[in-house]
Symmetry: C2
Subunit: 419 residues, 2 copies
C-alpha cells in the first residue's frame, strides 16, 4: 500500500502511487518515461485517471468523500469504492465478457485499478445521442443481466450463501439512501435539488407532487427497493454505466450494488433506452430525421427484454436440479408446475421492471440528475416537448404496469404516445 491514509491523487502523486503497486506498474512494463496520464471522470462522484504507454494501460478510479458534481456539501462515503470493487469482482466472475477486469484495490485510498476500455469504446449514452446503432447491445445486456441476476438469486444459491452476502452489502446503505432520496422521494416533493426545463414543465412537476395514485405506486416500489433482497443488483444500470463499441459492451460503475429487486436493474436500462428514444426528435435535423434510429431503439428495447427472458429462463432450466433453494426439484416436480411458477416469476419481474424503469425516467426529468439525451438539446422549448412526452409515458407505465402483458405492448404504448 502506497499511502497509510486516504488522500485524493493528482497527476504527480498518482505516478508515485503506481510505482509502489506492482499489479499496476507491471501493466505499463514499469516504464514511466513516456506515460500518458489523463483525468477523465465526467461522472458525479469520482476521479478517473487513464494511464497508458506503448506497453499497456489501465484506469484508476478513486472515490471522493462527497458528490463531485455538487461539491463537498453533499457528503458521501468513500467506502462505496469497496462495494464497487466487490461487485466488479463478483459480476466479472459471473459474466467476464461484459465486465472490465480488476487489477488492484486499495480500501484505504478508496481506489480501484482496472482495465482501460480503449477507443473506440464510448459511454453508451453518448452513442445514443450521436445516433449510433449497436447491433449486439440487446444481446450483450440481456446476457449480463441474466447471468448476474440469476446466479446471485435464490434460484441458484442456498439461503446460507444468500444471507451471508445480503449482510455484507447492507454495509452499502449510504448509496441505497442516495437512491431512495433522488429516485423515490425528491421528484414527488418540493426539494432544493429538483430542477426541470422551466417554465415549460412547471405544471408537470407540480402535477407529480399532487398525484396521489402515482405516489401510492412509488411507495410500493420504494418498499421493494428497501426490503426485498432478490439478487445482487448493479443499482445504477443506466446508459452511462456501460461503455460500448460495435462489438463490445462493458458494464462499469457498480458502486450502488446491493441485494435488491432485480427489476431495478432491468428497469434502469429499459427506462433509459426509452428516454433516449424520446429525445431523438430533439436531435433530428433535415439530413437525418432519426426515424430509422428510433426504430432501432424500439427494437433494442423489445429484444433486450425478450432475450433476457429467454436467457434467464434457460439458466433456470439448466440449473433446476442445482443448489438453488427457491424451487426445490422434489416439490416443483412436473412440467405443469414448473411452467406455472416460471411464468408467474417472469410476469412479476416484468411488472417490477416497468415500475422501476418508469420511476427512473421521471427522476431524470424533474430530479437532481438529468441526462445528456435531453440536456444536449439546446432549444429549451424543443427539449421540454421531448421531456414532457417521456414524463407522460413514464406516468402511464408506472400506474398501468400490471396491465402490460409483454414488451411488445410497451413498444406499442411508446409509439402511441407520440401520435
Amino acid at each position: 500500500m502506497a499511502f497509510s491514509e486516504f488522500r485524493p491523487l493528482h497527476d504527480n502523486s498518482l505516478i508515485d502511487y503506481v510505482k509502489s503497486v506492482p499489479a499496476l506498474s507491471s501493466k505499463i512494463a514499469n516504464d514511466f518515461d513516456n506515460l500518458f496520464v489523463k483525468e477523465v471522470g465526467d461522472g458525479n462522484l469520482n476521479f478517473v485517471f487513464i494511464v497508458l504507454n506503448s506497453a499497456g494501460s489501465f484506469v484508476i478510479k478513486q472515490a471522493l468523500p462527497y458528490v463531485r458534481s455538487i461539491g463537498e456539501s453533499w457528503a458521501m462515503t468513500k467506502e462505496r469504492s469497496y462495494f464497487e470493487w466487490l461487485a466488479l469482482k463478483e459480476k466479472g466472475r459471473l459474466c467476464p465478457e461484459h465486465v472490465p477486469e480488476v487489477y488492484h484495490f486499495d480500501r484505504t485510498m478508496s481506489l480501484i485499478g482496472m482495465r482501460y476500455l480503449e477507443p473506440p469504446h464510448i459511454i453508451l449514452r453518448k452513442g445514443l445521442v450521436a445516433g449510433i446503432e449497436y447491433p449486439l447491445l440487446a444481446e450483450h445486456m440481456a446476457d449480463f443481466m441474466a447471468k448476474t441476476l440469476f446466479f446471485t438469486s435464490l434460484l441458484f444459491r442456498t439461503t446460507s450463501e444468500h444471507k451471508r452476502d445480503v449482510a455484507e452489502y447492507c454495509g452499502n446503505v449510504e448509496m441505497c439512501r442516495l437512491t431512495e432520496q433522488v429516485v423515490f422521494s425528491d421528484p414527488y416533493k418540493v426539494s432544493e435539488y429538483n430542477r426541470w426545463t422551466s417554465p415549460y414543465l412547471d405544471h408537470d412537476a407540480e402535477a407529480l407532487r399532487e398525484d396521489n395514485l402515482l405516489k401510492l405506486e412509488v411507495a410500493e416500489l420504494k418498499s421493494k427497493f428497501c426490503e426485498r433482497a432478490q439478487a445482487l443488483i448493479h443499482g445504477d444500470l443506466h446508459t452511462s454505466s456501460m461503455m460500448v463499441t460495435h462489438e463490445s459492451t462493458q458494464v462499469i460503475d457498480p458502486e450502488f450494488a446491493f441485494y435488491g429487486p432485480m427489476g431495478y436493474d432491468i428497469g434502469a436500462f429499459l427506462g433509459n433506452l426509452i428516454l433516449a428514444y424520446c429525445s431523438q426528435d430533439g436531435h433530428a435535423y433535415q439530413a437525418n430525421d432519426r426515424k430509422a434510429y428510433k426504430e432501432w431503439i424500439l427494437k433494442t428495447i423489445e429484444d433486450t427484454w425478450n432475450l433476457f427472458q429467454h436467457k434467464f429462463t434457460a439458466l433456470w432450466d439448466e440449473h433446476r436440479n442445482g443448489a438453488g433453494e427457491a424451487y426445490l426439484p422434489a416439490i416443483y416436480n412436473n412440467p405443469e408446475v414448473q411452467l406455472l411458477v416460471q411464468k408467474k416469476y417472469m410476469t412479476d419481474l416484468f411488472h417490477d421492471s416497468l415500475g422501476f424503469g418508469a420511476a427512473k425516467m421521471i427522476r431524470r426529468i424533474v430530479g437532481v440528475a438529468h441526462v445528456e439525451d435531453f440536456e444536449s438539446i439546446a432549444d429549451a422549448a424543443k427539449r421540454a416537448t421531448c421531456e414532457k412526452r417521456a414524463l407522460d409515458l413514464a406516468k402511464t407505465i408506472l400506474k398501468e404496469r400490471r396491465k402490460f402483458e409483454g414488451i411488445a405492448e410497451i413498444v406499442s404504448a411508446i409509439r402511441k404516445h407520440e401520435s
Copy 2:
C-alpha cells in the same frame, strides 16, 4: 462467566453456575439451602430450568446444539440463543408488558437467565386444549404484534438503522433454514420427517404434493419469507410461544427472530387459533360441547386482527412525522393519500397473514411437528376428522386469500367449512 467453554448444565453444575453469576444469585438472595430446581423444557430445542426459593426465582434456558426432540442427528446451532437474547431485549424494550425480563446472557454457554413466569401462567396452547377463555388475549397479542412490528419497520425507522439490524439478524440463518424446510418445503414433498394421522389422511397428504396451484402460492410465500426484510419478527409465534393467565400474556421463545415479513407472525398466531378451533370437536363431551368456547375462539381471531389493525395504524398516525422513511410526510402530505397508502399496506399485510397462517396450519397436520390441540385427541378417526377440516380450510385460505376483504369473512369461512 462461570465456564470457559460450552457444556450442558445439569442440576448440580447449574447451582455452581448460578453461584458465579451475581445477576442470578441475587434473585434468590444468594440462598442456596432451600432451592427448588426443576427441568421443565417440553419444547423441541432446549433445556429449561426453574430455580426458586422463598426469596425469589428465575428461569435458565440453555440451547443445545441439536433438536432435542429428534436427537443429536438433527444438528442445530446453539448460536440461536444469542438471537433469542437479542430479540427478547429488543421486544422487551418495545413492549415490556408482554415480554419477560432478561437478567443474564452467556453466549459461550448459550444460556439466558430470565423471569420465571409463575403459576397460574401456563402455555396458551394447553389452555386452549383445556377450554379456558382468556378475555384479554386478543388485546394483548394485538398490542405485542403492533408494537414489535411497527417500531422495527421502515414506518418508524431510518433505512440506516434498518440495514444495520437486517445484517445482524442475517446471522440467524440456520433457524430461518429450519423454517424454510419444515413450513415451506417438507409438507409439499416426500420427506422422512413428515407424518400424519394414517391411514385417514393418506390421500390428503398425497393431494398436497400434487396440487400445483397450492405449490405456486407456497413459492410466493417462501420467497417473501427469504427475501423481504419488513420488520423484526418473532418467527415462531404459535400458541405455545406464549404463557398466559386471565390477566397476563407473556411472549417467549423468539429464537427464530429475524427481519422478515410481518404477516409471518400475525399468521402464526391466527393460524394456530384456527387449529385450536378445529380441534375443539375432538375435546367435546356430553357435559361440555365446547360450543361456547368455539365462539370465544372465533371472537378472539376476529378481535386480534381488528385490534391489531387499529393499534398499528394508530402508531402509524402518531409517528407520521417521525424518522420513518417509508412514507415521508413531505410526499404523503394530504389525508386522501395517507388513507390510500395505509389501506393498501393493511390489505397487503392481511393477505400475507392469511397466506402464512394457512401454511403454518398445513405443516402442523402433515409435517414433522404436530400440535397438542390435535395430538391430545386419542381417537384417531375423530382426530383425523378435525385435522382434515383444518387442512381443507387452510388450503382454501391459502389459495383464495386475496379475495378476503376482512377478518369477518375469514370467520364466516371457518363457520361455513364446518357445516
